[in-house]
């Protein structure tokens, strides 16, 4: 008898849905991709519809819905926050106290009538890493801003069973420490943390000691902040006046110039973060000595720290859940529920791709493009010719939108919804940052490389299919567009088995240029979720002034598309919706 479980994360940072049928993860997607609201926290009704459709299931065939959080535990933390500051007593905060809301929304808005199971936020994160790691026995570390109460938790797992070893409770949070300094640096909390990581290599750790002062105790599994430096409990801003005095400079205003001071602060923070993470990992290894470590939670997206954990940590092998943010918890909750209804289910082979989202057939793309005269080139008969054409375009220094197969789950574009370019161009990074993505100039881009050539160009000993670790660039090629200022890169390795078409393109580019590497960045503009559908890709192609768009086996060159498209959309931007606050961590 078929068993179907739907996992849901919602009402916090990134809502998402995932579906497991007969032990197989068939689909997963974030709601923001459908609603077009970045970080959409709403109950993921569109993502659920997609998951059901992809799995060929109707709602009455779902055996269980798994929710990624315990709303009553979260109520406790929110009530406690009320006792810390009455300024939290605004209607939005108070309304979010209702612990029945997730359940009632699943009934009302998803329409689900069967049993609902609730799992702890960190447990869901832990399961999202463990059950898809391929490890039978592993230690698990979850680090984020905060779930219900937990901010850091250490688990052991074996034969499908996960057990908590130690944890750290709110408000003492590594994630919120990082978020606080993100805010101080003038970036968006809940969104700009990875910018801090990108800025860090420009600086020196001159302020590490000051940042260490923010931490009262971090020995072993402990972690305590000196709360006099933080204001986030008042839900107004992240840092206190005392913090500003400690740093000796007023907070940076958004879009203000990034001088040496800000770079040094970012570097100092990154150094301290890495120290703490390594310390916790070593402690975890003492608690549960084994070969394997799984990591999840927002902080696990810090690929520089992940690289340190792999290089300098005590574990032999590391698996980081590619969808480490709250979206990925839908996977974990689904896995936990599935393991309950089928106790014989255990982690099988490791997750080797995240192509779990919607796909579009060549037929549907042809219908779209055939509705007007957009000059699309049709390569349905010859994929090889497609690769050659696109490689030639890339070789001319053009920037392309690459839309193929199923959309990625998680924050990274990994060759299904990507913007690609030649990494060898001296000005390519600036061009893409300024003209295409319209974002800060300092931000680096990541390389995608054919796995068999990876070690020739990057100091890496094992595949990195999810772009979750950094390593040194050791290539004989000059790769300025993907080499960060400290000589590092956040590499994605690509194989034909994982992504046949992306690998085919990389191969064609290598044949043409001798370079098996492409610059790979997400297919979106600033403030917009990654594109999901072909029409969104075309729109982004027009707005971001990309030179070329590859949709399945069709190619559009900018100079051949209808002038009307450029007239209508050339000077427009995606509508911006912010699902979560940008000035203070969203605790609700």
């Amino acid at each position: 008898m078929t068993k179907t479980v739907l996992g849901i994360s919602a009402h916090y940072h990134d809502s998402a849905a995932a579906i497991i049928v007969d032990g197989e993860l068939l689909a997963a997607a974030q709601e923001e991709r459908f609603s077009r609201k970045k970080h959409d926290p709403a109950i993921p009704s569109k993502a659920v519809r997609y998951c059901l459709e992809a799995a060929g299931k109707s709602i009455d065939q779902v055996d269980r819905v798994a929710y990624y959080e315990d709303p009553y535990e979260k109520l406790g933390r929110n009530l406690w926050m009320l006792t810390r500051s009455v300024s939290n007593a605004n209607p939005a905060f108070l309304l979010a106290l209702d612990p029945r809301r997730p359940g009632s929304d699943i009934r009302r808005l998803i329409g689900y009538e069967g049993p609902i199971r609730y799992y702890g936020h960190h447990l869901s994160h832990a399961a999202s890493a463990y059950f898809f790691s391929g490890f039978d026995k592993a230690a698990i570390m979850v680090v984020d801003g905060v779930g219900e109460w937990q901010t850091l938790s250490l688990y052991k797992a074996e034969s499908g069973r996960i057990q908590l070893l130690e944890d750290v409770s709110f408000p003492h949070s590594i994630g919120l420490l990082y978020g606080t300094i993100t805010a101080y640096l003038g970036f968006e909390v809940n969104d700009g943390e990875y910018k801090v990581m990108g800025l860090a290599p420009y600086g020196k750790p001159h302020y590490a000691d000051r940042i260490r002062k923010l931490i009262k105790d971090s020995a072993g599994g402990a972690f305590r902040l000196d709360m006099s430096y933080f204001d986030f409990l008042k839900n107004k801003r992240m840092y206190s006046e005392k913090f500003v005095r400690l740093m000796g400079r007023a907070p940076r205003q958004k879009e203000a110039p990034l001088t040496e001071f800000w770079m040094d602060v970012a570097k100092s923070l990154q150094c301290v973060l890495e120290e703490i993470i390594l310390e916790k990992v070593r402690h975890l290894h003492k608690l549960f000595p084994c070969d394997n470590l799984c990591m999840a939670g927002g902080v696990a997206l810090n690929c520089v720290a992940n690289g340190r954990v792999r290089r300098d940590g005590p574990f032999r092998d590391l698996f980081v859940q590619p969808a480490s943010s709250d979206a990925g918890s839908s996977l974990g909750a689904a896995a936990l529920a599935y393991s309950e209804i089928d106790p014989s289910w255990k982690p099988g082979i490791a997750m080797d791709h995240v192509y779990l989202g919607p796909s579009f057939t060549d037929e549907s793309i042809r219908d779209l493009l055939g509705a007007g005269d957009c000059g699309a080139l049709d390569f349905q008969d010859s994929e090889r010719e497609l690769f050659r054409e696109v490689a030639a375009t890339l070789g001319q220094g053009k920037i392309i939108g690459w839309f193929q197969g199923r959309m990625e789950f998680g924050p990274r574009s990994l060759g299904a919804r990507s913007i690609l370019a030649d990494p060898r161009g001296g000005d390519m990074r600036d061009r893409i940052n300024a003209l295409v993505k319209k974002r800060e100039a300092f931000r680096p881009f990541a390389p995608a490389v054919l796995e068999e050539y990876a070690s020739e160009h990057f100091e890496m000993t094992r595949p990195s299919p999810f772009m979750l670790e950094t390593c040194r660039v050791v290539s004989s090629l000059d790769l300025p567009a993907i080499t960060h200022v400290d000589g590092s890169a956040r590499v994605q390795t690509v194989t034909h088995a994982q992504n046949r078409k992306f690998a085919g393109l990389l191969e064609a580019f290598r044949e043409r240029t001798g370079c098996p590497i492409l610059l790979n960045t997400s297919f979106n503009m600033r403030g917009e979720p990654i594109v999901c559908t072909p029409s969104e890709a075309i729109l982004c192609f027009i707005r971001a002034r990309l030179d070329c768009l590859v949709l399945g086996n069709f190619v559009l060159h900018r100079n051949r598309i209808p002038e009307r498209w450029i007239e209508w959309f050339g000077n427009t931007y995606p509508e911006r919706f912010e699902g979560v606050s940008n000035s203070v961590y969203t605790f609700l």
Binding site: S45, Y72, L79, T83, E113, A371, G372, E536
Partner: protein, 689 residues
């Protein structure tokens, strides 16, 4: 440290309690205490309050002239198509027109607008003496209008014409204290909500705007003329599914039966019977049913009782004000009266369209005046513009004789007027108007322009394709016409697109009359939508959503993951090649309590295919529709929901829960819900030809 631990213990204690009954009551009390602080919807603002150097899409340059701001390009289409407004009007008398889409000349814009007419008329009165600056915007609410008023002194107006009031049914004006009062009793929630809106909120909105105009007068020395908007009382029909909120006496079945009877009487011209039946309906719905009131009004109209007819038709128009059911824009009597009172109190002139559009017989205005609900037809724009011009001339001491003689000849070319009617046909269709209203505009377009058939063909093309319309070559071609480009501008291209357009398509084909379009449409549908290799999701907008409101789920609250039927019938369009049988899978349920002997029926092109028992839990139906029941092209799969009682008690619970969360409730009874409906030609038995 001790305090922190203590407070955490307390918090955890409450959580412990919250998991049981006592704690739930505690949470309930807390939620109730929160309500007074709520806002039901964010107070809207069409543009953020900016510097006084920016008005609408225009920005003041160093020379003091106002240039259209490229950064606001996406918004240009909402305003007058005017690149520059001179900073200084020179010797001319500057007239500012501030208003909403009716003042914009929606459908005719930019080929002809009220501002252009007004300037032309004033030019007849005294050549070169006046300049009209058009600041009317489509899609603007009271917050946006106030923003424009507040900034307009910078344009140095001598006269301000204020023409607004149709877009003020905004829930951003509700406060938690209103919600508390609405929830204060068990019954008559909607009645109280409407009462508060009409007697308190709307007058306060009006007063705030008029106060803004007074400040503008004080700052600029300008004088104001207020245009009171009128509405298409006779011919505009609210979407049938949105005409009656949930009734507290579980009397929907009885009410629906009476409705069918009353409409039959009206069609037969039996006005007395219609009147009596509609009165019974109105008793059942306690005045909340727009259709009951409207049927009373129409039967009185049929009997020649114009005065009473107007009263009921106005009541029908205003029936849903303040009730969270999305409707077409309108200016309720309360707003009209508040505008009159405030204008008189502040010594402002008034152009009252209610008087202007009531003919000698006292008959309320109809489709001969309006293109839709509130947007004026050509002649009505002329009439209003002349009335405004007369007031201006009177104020300025200019001769008004030429105004009376002005006919509007040459203001708009026939082909542009034809295009305006084509766009109106589309708008009427997407606002749920009946076939006759849609066809009327299509036919008028044919009368005005013998070559309009080519336009019809382009429309059928982009309406019928699977691709977003902005991707269609036909759309690009049509948008070369400036009227079409304005109305059909892609806007947010992911949001404002596909509809189930079979009614509009039929009207275009019939008005064209050539017969050729019909077969063209049929073949296009088959090529685009018949997918023998994959299931087709019949819940996609293109197969089920005829109107803007149905796309939004007839709700101002969150839209669920499934389709909700707010009418007794759910019609889904299935495109067939006429040769293949088709397998249909439907997952559905009902919300109400099923009446004895009732069942769910599936009809294919009007013929009953099968009946099924249905309950309040999801169940899936697998049907095979034989090829012989399907025709080539579009077919209607109708799900006829069983007759049900809709328990008020459950609705009240839901309503309170939503309001206590600051969420908009769904205020219409739900006849059925569909989670999945797919058609798969592979699952049908192939019939060889």
């Amino acid at each position: 440290m001790v305090a922190k631990s203590f407070s955490r213990t307390i918090a955890n204690g409450v959580v412990f309690l919250a998991r049981n009954k006592v704690g739930k009551s505690l949470l309930h009390v807390m939620a109730k205490a929160i309500v007074p602080a709520l806002r039901l919807a964010p107070a809207g603002r069409s543009s953020p309050p900016g510097s006084p150097d920016s008005i609408g899409v225009w920005k003041r340059d160093d020379a003091g002239n106002w240039k259209r701001d490229p950064a606001k390009y996406p918004e240009w289409r909402c305003w007058a198509d005017r690149p520059t407004i001179p900073g200084n009007p020179g010797a001319k008398t500057r007239v500012l027109l501030i208003g909403e889409s009716a003042a914009r000349g929606y459908f005719y814009d930019p080929a002809m607008t009220p501002a252009q007419c007004l300037e032309k008329i004033l030019d007849c009165a005294e050549p070169g003496a006046f300049e009209v600056v058009d600041l009317a915007r489509i899609d603007i609410d009271q917050f946006g209008i106030l923003d424009i008023i507040e900034k307009s002194a910078a344009l140095g107006p001598h006269i301000v014409v204020f023409w607004g009031g149709n877009n003020w049914l905004h829930f951003g004006e509700y406060r938690g204290s209103h919600v508390s009062r609405i929830l204060s009793g068990r019954e008559d929630i909607y009645d109280r909500s409407r009462g508060i809106f009409l007697s308190e909120i709307l007058p306060a909105t009006t007063a705030r705007l008029m106060e803004g105009l007074s400040r503008l007068e004080a700052a600029s020395g300008a004088r104001t003329i207020v245009v009171i908007p009128e509405w298409n009382l006779v011919d505009w029909e609210d979407e049938c599914s949105a005409s009656l909120p949930f009734l507290k006496d579980d009397c929907h079945t009885e009410w629906s039966a009476l409705l069918e009877t009353a409409e039959g009487y009206l069609a037969e011209g039996r006005y007395d019977e219609c009147h009596a039946t509609a009165k019974r309906m109105s008793t059942l719905d306690r005045g909340l049913g727009a259709r009951s009131l409207r049927l009373i009004g129409l039967s009185l109209l049929g009997k020649g009782n114009m005065e009473d007819a107007r009263e009921y038709l106005e009541k029908a128009r205003d029936a849903l004000a303040g009730i969270p059911i999305p409707t077409a824009p309108r200016c309720p009597a309360a707003a009209q009266q508040a505008l009159r009172n405030e204008a008189v109190r502040r010594g402002m002139e008034v152009v009252d369209q209610v008087e202007l559009f009531t003919d000698g017989t006292g008959k309320p205005p109809d489709g001969s005046v309006f293109m839709d609900y509130c947007h004026l037809g050509k002649e009505a724009i002329f009439t209003t513009s002349k009335a405004i011009a007369s007031r201006i001339c009177r104020k300025e001491g200019k001769p008004a004789q030429a105004i009376k003689e002005w006919t509007g000849s040459g203001m708009i070319r026939p082909e542009d007027e034809a295009m305006a009617h084509v766009m109106a046909a589309m708008h009427n269709a997407h606002y749920g108007q009946g076939y006759a209203q849609v066809l009327r505009h299509c036919r008028r377009a044919v009368e005005l322009d013998v070559n309009i058939g080519a336009i019809f063909r382009l429309m059928l093309d982009f309406m019928s394709r699977r691709a977003n319309r902005w991707l269609c070559g036909s759309f690009a071609e049509l948008s070369r016409n400036r009227i079409a480009n304005r109305y059909l501008h892609p806007r947010n291209p992911n949001e404002w697109d596909k509809f189930e357009d079979s009614l509009l398509s039929r009207a275009l084909v019939e008005a064209d009359g050539s017969g050729e379009l019909e077969s063209h449409l049929r073949e296009l549908l088959v090529v685009e939508h018949f997918r023998p290799g994959a299931p087709v999701d019949l819940l996609e907008f293109q197969y089920q959503a005829r109107t803007f409101r149905s796309r939004g789920g007839f709700s101002l609250g969150p839209v669920p993951a499934y389709h909700r039927a707010f009418a007794r019938n759910s019609d889904l369009i299935l495109v067939s090649n006429g040769k293949n049988s088709v397998g249909i899978r439907i997952t559905c349920r009902i919300q109400g309590e099923i009446q004895p002997g009732e069942s769910l029926a599936i009809l294919v092109n009007g013929i009953v295919h099968s009946t099924h028992q249905v309950g309040r839990n999801w169940f899936s139906l697998d049907l095979v529709v034989d090829a012989s029941a399907l025709r080539r092209g579009g077919n209607v799969i109708r799900i006829r929901w069983p007759g049900q009682r809709f328990p008020w008690r459950l609705h009240l619970q839901d309503l309170r829960r939503c309001l206590a969360r600051g969420e908009m409730p769904t205020s219409l009874p739900v006849h059925g819900e569909i989670h999945q409906c797919t058609a798969d030609a592979r699952r049908g038995h192939r019939v060889e030809q």
